[in-house]
């Protein structure tokens, strides 16, 4: 009879314990999820509502307020206070929700490849997000206090509709905290074999809870933009799911998940860049160079589909309310999209610049240097098309010189089809940059390499021609209503090219011969500033887009239902909004530097042996 070694018995018990922990966590999440209005089926919830139909009579219409109903504190601008608190909370929340997503993926890659470097990098990423998590909670609390203090009627109205989801949000926050701390502090404990799987499962749970938290908060925000479940006077029907599942909820959910990943990548990229610049040893420079590259890769990967998600959101805003859509894109907010073009152009240029600098890591990249200037010309050209405004505010002399409000040649570049074409071209050429970077140190050895290259060239050529044709035909040979009809086939063309060419490349370079190894750390300092530029531009851009998203409600707390009668109900001018966003960005950056510093301090040790008594023998 074989006797199992004690270690096996212990291992079995530990496996069972771990399994029990995972099961209990799953059960808890399941119970909470089923309790949430909105997560159970709409039909079941509707049936429940039908049984309690009398409840609807208890809801009040949205209050009609006057300026006197808004509490004030001398010397404090309540609108700016709430604006900054909300924006700072959002920046940190985006960061701490994004980091676990790619930490989970990197940890899984580490498990798949058994390459410890991935595990170390994932741990370092999550370490950075721990302090940021505290900031997120503090700022969320501050925002709630400010809303209760300065906008009590709004808070009361919103909580009368979303009371259940707010309650479960608070509970989920506990679960999120517990999971995050277990995930982080248990990193080195839950290593190897089944324990690693348990740890990865915790990462999955952390992401599931975090995403659910964001979706709930998104429901409140989007309800204010596109209210549902209320009548024109604001009387709530009692159907919480209808209020949550309002018209713009899913478009915002999708947009924010993608944007958060890109944003999280850019912030940890800035962390890696700072560490790279501060590193004294070549091993450290190599490590942080590699970390920065991966962070930039994450940021670009999410940045590529982001314009499409933004387009979907805007199309849904138009579908919900043409007035809101026109106010957004053709009204007072239209010029903000020129600023947005500058910012997104900055993001694409800095991300590409970083890749081009990174090609210096391998001597094999010399083969592709001659193409970089063409990539740069096309990307800058596309950026300039995106940047061209539709209408111009001109003096009479300028109007006369132009012959009208539109320039003869540049005017047509101001409309959406031209911009959609430019964005797709910019994305495709960024993909080309990445393909060149990826090939820098390798030579394909498969027999069909030439054919594969030819297919890729044909794919890009045909795709670009198709994008141009669609943009020109729909943009200039159809009436206004169909002008943006090109956007979906253009997006599909771009996605097809990206997916197909990446797949071909992956197969073609499987088992490729390394002609010149990558030397991590062999990259210029200025390339690291591209990573900082990416992080700062992304932060500023998020602040600007946050203002636009909130601002299109104009003088309404809840669009067309609950009027904002406060003294600050006006829609601010562009410069005013830009200044608030800039102040917010500076505050956020200061806090992020503190977060980086704390993460660094936690790994420092000071030898002070002489300070302590020698322990008795």
């Amino acid at each position: 009879m074989m006797i199992k070694p004690p270690a096996s018995n212990g291992k079995t018990r530990r496996v069972r314990k771990a399994g029990l922990v995972v099961f209990c966590l799953g059960l808890l999440l399941g119970v909470l999820a089923l309790s949430l209005p909105g997560l159970d089926s709409g039909i079941a919830h509707a049936a429940e509502l039908a049984d309690t139909g009398a409840d609807t009579a208890t809801y009040q219409p949205a209050p009609k307020l006057t300026a006197a109903d808004y509490p004030t504190i001398k010397g404090v601008n309540s609108r700016i206070a709430v604006w900054l608190a909300a924006q700072l909370h959002l920046w940190f929340a985006a960061f701490v929700l994004a980091v676990p997503i790619f930490v989970f993926i990197i940890e899984a890659i580490g498990m798949g490849t058994r390459d410890k470097r991935y595990d170390n990098m994932a741990y370092e990423f999550i370490k950075v997000s721990i302090t940021a998590y505290s900031f997120t909670a503090i700022l969320g609390g501050l925002l709630t206090f400010l809303l209760v203090l300065f906008y009590p009627h709004l808070f009361q109205y919103m909580s009368s509709i979303f009371k259940e989801s707010m309650f479960y949000y608070a509970l989920l926050f506990f679960l999120e905290s517990a999971t995050l701390y277990l995930y982080y502090y248990g990193w080195h404990w839950l290593q190897g074999g089944f324990r690693k799987w348990v740890h990865l499962s915790l990462g999955l749970l952390l992401n599931a809870v975090g995403t659910l938290l964001m979706f709930l908060a998104n429901a409140w925000v989007t309800f204010m933009m596109s209210p549902a479940g209320v009548d024109p006077a604001g009387v709530f029907s009692g159907d919480a799911w209808a209020a949550i599942h309002n018209f713009l909820w899913n478009p915002i959910n999708i947009h924010r998940v993608i944007a958060n990943i890109a944003y999280g990548g850019s912030i940890v990229g800035a962390y890696a860049a700072f560490k790279f610049l501060s590193a004294r040893k070549s091993e450290q420079r190599a490590h942080y160079d590699w970390m920065g590259y991966n962070a930039n890769f994450i940021a670009i990967s999410a940045l590529l589909p982001l314009p499409f998600a933004g387009y979907y959101l805007t199309a849904e805003i138009y579908a919900y309310s043409q007035q809101m859509g026109i106010t957004l894109m053709g009204g007072v907010f239209a010029w903000l999209f020129i600023i947005q073009a500058v910012l997104i152009g900055t993001l694409f240029l800095s991300a590409n610049y970083y890749l081009w600098c990174g090609m210096g890591r391998s001597d094999g990249a010399v083969r592709y240097h001659k193409y970089i200037k063409y990539l740069a010309i096309v990307i800058v050209g596309a950026f300039l098309v995106w940047f061209t405004p539709h209408t111009l505010v001109l003096t009479n002399e300028e109007l006369k010189a132009l012959g009208g409000p539109y320039h003869k040649y540049l005017g047509p570049l101001g409309i959406m089809p031209a911009k959609n074409t430019a964005v797709n071209i910019m994305i495709l050429f960024t993909t080309l940059s990445f393909i060149f970077y990826r090939r820098a140190n390798k030579v394909a050895t498969v027999s069909w390499a030439s054919a594969g290259n030819a297919i890729q060239i044909a794919l890009f050529t045909a795709g670009i021609l198709n994008i141009f044709f669609l943009g020109v035909y729909h943009g200039y040979f159809t009436n206004t209503v169909y002008k943006v009809a090109a956007s979906i086939p253009q997006v599909l063309t771009t996605l097809t090219i990206i997916v197909t060419s990446t797949a071909i490349d992956a197969f073609m370079y499987r088992g490729a011969k390394q002609v010149a190894p990558l030397h991590w750390g062999r990259v210029s300092d200025r390339s690291q500033y591209a990573l900082f530029l990416l992080a700062v531009a992304f932060t500023w851009l998020m602040g600007l887009m946050g203002y636009i998203r909130s601002g299109i409600r104009q003088h309404w707390h809840v669009t067309n239902v609950f009027r904002d009668a406060s003294p600050d109900a006006f829609t601010p001018g562009l410069g005013y909004a830009a200044n608030v966003v800039s102040v917010g960005t500076i505050l956020f950056m200061a806090m992020v530097i503190f977060v980086f510093w704390i993460a660094d301090v936690s790994s420092r040790k000071t030898a002070a042996d002489a300070y302590w008594k020698t322990p008795p023998a």
Binding site: K64, F274, Q323, I326, F532, L533, D564, A578
Partner: protein, 275 residues
Amino acid sequence: MRNFLKVLCFSLLVIGLFAGYSNYGIPQIEPAPPPVEEKLELGAMTMDKFIALGERLYNGKGTCTLCHNPTGGRAPQLESAATVASERMQDSRYQGTASTVVEYLYESMVEPSAYVVAGFGKAGSNDSESPMPDVSAGGIGLSDAELKAIIAYLQDLAGTDVTVSIPTDAAPAEAEEKTAEPPPAPRAALDTPDALIAKFTCGACHKVAGQVGAIGPDLTTIGATRDKAYLRRSLLDPNADVAEGFMAGMMPNIYGTQMSAAELEMLVDYLAGLK
């Protein structure tokens, strides 16, 4: 520390560039303030004033020009809305119940899908559903009297007889609104031309009274070449005579309704005296 300072300066420089571009690189458009409810004195209103009220609502509270404008192309132009109404009521696609032009125009504002002009329907609706909201509800919330004022304006715009009648009392919804938010006090009359020019920001476009606007004609010696009748007409109907080299439609057509007669005459006298 050196790296920290370099990164800090770089970040501040980038933020400063974005802020600077937003402040100085693009036109600083100041959005209109939130609309304020206007108390309608319907009892004492002439048809001309009623039409002027309709025009104001059309360009302001009604937000009609957001979509019904020549550049956007997202909604039909309404210059001939009153003349084509009869034709549309006979159209096989017409789903409404109106039998007069006034009823048709009213219906088109509160039930826009009753007739959708070809090419302007919601995407995928085959022009059976209009993207236009019911302007008597929601955020626009025009009262019955306001809707009729817009009808008067559209009929006048089309050059047809204005057949809509001026209501005798304001709608209950509007009265209710008044209790929530009292209407603003009427503007005190301005007693100097400089105050008028400042109030109506003439200097933003014209060179006048120390202001150096360049979009409209230079007014510093306008009295030497134009008489009072011309100046009065230019204020009341800016597109009646457009100075050579300048574009029509640039000057707002609001001064006839926003200035009192005394203020208008004071400004005409002032301009005529600039020689």
